[in-house]
Symmetry: D2
């Protein structure tokens, strides 16, 4: 299935539909192989010691996977997360944004599955990995 929403369309969609969080995220790239999303790390994402919080990493993975699905099915569908699994592996590097590299593994009629590797920008070793299932509502 081809890309029906590109980086620009996804960016506009997030600004319109998720104004509360759109400032924290950016879609870096989307193509047939992967979608890359950025968490623009600010004070609201940090825990004591300067590390990015678990919920912020979850939010980045969730957003990246959601956008990877929308990039293929368009903005009409209201997809919701049904299952998520996250492994937190390393402390994020201080003072760097996080990048989620997301690949879509299945896009079925009812369920979509994707995973994402999260890295600190410029660092090779992953900070976290996440996999999520989304339910896609049937077309009206």
């Amino acid at each position: 299935m081809g890309i029906v929403m590109d980086r620009s369309a996804l960016t506009d969609f997030l600004a319109l539909e998720f104004p509360q969080v759109a400032d924290s995220f950016a879609i870096e790239r989307v193509d047939a192989n992967e979608l890359v999303a950025r968490l623009i790390v600010g004070p609201q994402h940090l825990r004591p010691g300067g590390t990015v919080s678990g919920p912020s990493i979850f939010a980045l993975a969730d957003l990246a996977i959601y956008c990877a699905i929308l990039s293929r099915i368009g903005p009409v569908a209201l997809a919701v997360t049904t299952s998520a699994s996250v492994d937190f592996m390393r402390k994020p590097a201080a003072g760097r944004d996080l990048l989620a590299h997301c690949r879509l593994l299945k896009l079925g009629r009812l369920l979509a599955v994707a995973d994402a590797l999260i890295t600190s920008e410029g660092q090779p070793d992953p900070v976290a990995r996440a996999s999520m299932t989304y339910a896609i509502p049937p077309k009206a």
Copy 2:
């Protein structure tokens, strides 16, 4: 293992160590069987349509499980989440706080495991379930 931090001690600890998020959460109850934590739902937790966001539900489960562990080992240990699995099962009820009912399943020397059922206050059916593993750093 007995309770070494009660509700009041956990509340003070959160206010001191996590001032950024302490306003969103309350520890309702902690005993030998379970810890109950509350997400005081505000506009910052909502998605379009008025539903509580996935990252906010994740944050509640994470905090409840973290506090359940601290209630047994005290505030000295710096425990970090290593794995998390969440199933989102129902839309939260509008205008209600969320409650996480957390039980500690294992408290080992290096790893602790707990799960939590999340409900909308006053509703029997669970909104979500979560299970998490924490790594407990060795004592100095």
Copy 3:
């Protein structure tokens, strides 16, 4: 939703549909609150050192959750596991069967979610916990 397949009906169903594995499992109890299934531990389930293998524990949880769903919707539906999360917490006690205590958390039109605590018979502390999502095919 009430129980439409009881212990006896589930036992017959397993013997008929899963003859390859039916000898390893027994349904102990099923009621409105939980289903309890047994792994009759034999040499084929063991790893070096006499511990029950991870795949055998997975199989027990999968079977218990599958039967908990069938107990409510009957044998006609062909449900398949879509997601599973398992935490292995303690070594099973030597020479004892394993019991899975399963509770159904959601029974939707398309997805069912349940979790299970696995114990060595007669031991209070859980060996493992598992949660799984099943897809329920639409009625013809």
Copy 4:
């Protein structure tokens, strides 16, 4: 960290330590990027309808990830699975072996994390994905 057990050494190790299951599995390849393991599908792995059972897929992922860890730390360590997450995405193709493509994401002092994509041999779309955490016992 370099490869300290190659394909041949891993094969010998499985034959010696896991004689009950070694006939079902083969290590196809191991290098710095990934380990590929094969499930030699036989009648004992099948469910009604000829599909490979969930526990068999779990067993393949578990073995592949275990071997990926041993390939780096050698046969002396007794690593045990602590957490596993699996998504079952497509029905395996009939009459084909399954291949697990495993990448090691973290190899820490105490915990290792890896994931695996499972495919039917010769088919591009993944049948399943799995991620697991192993606890590595401290050196004596």
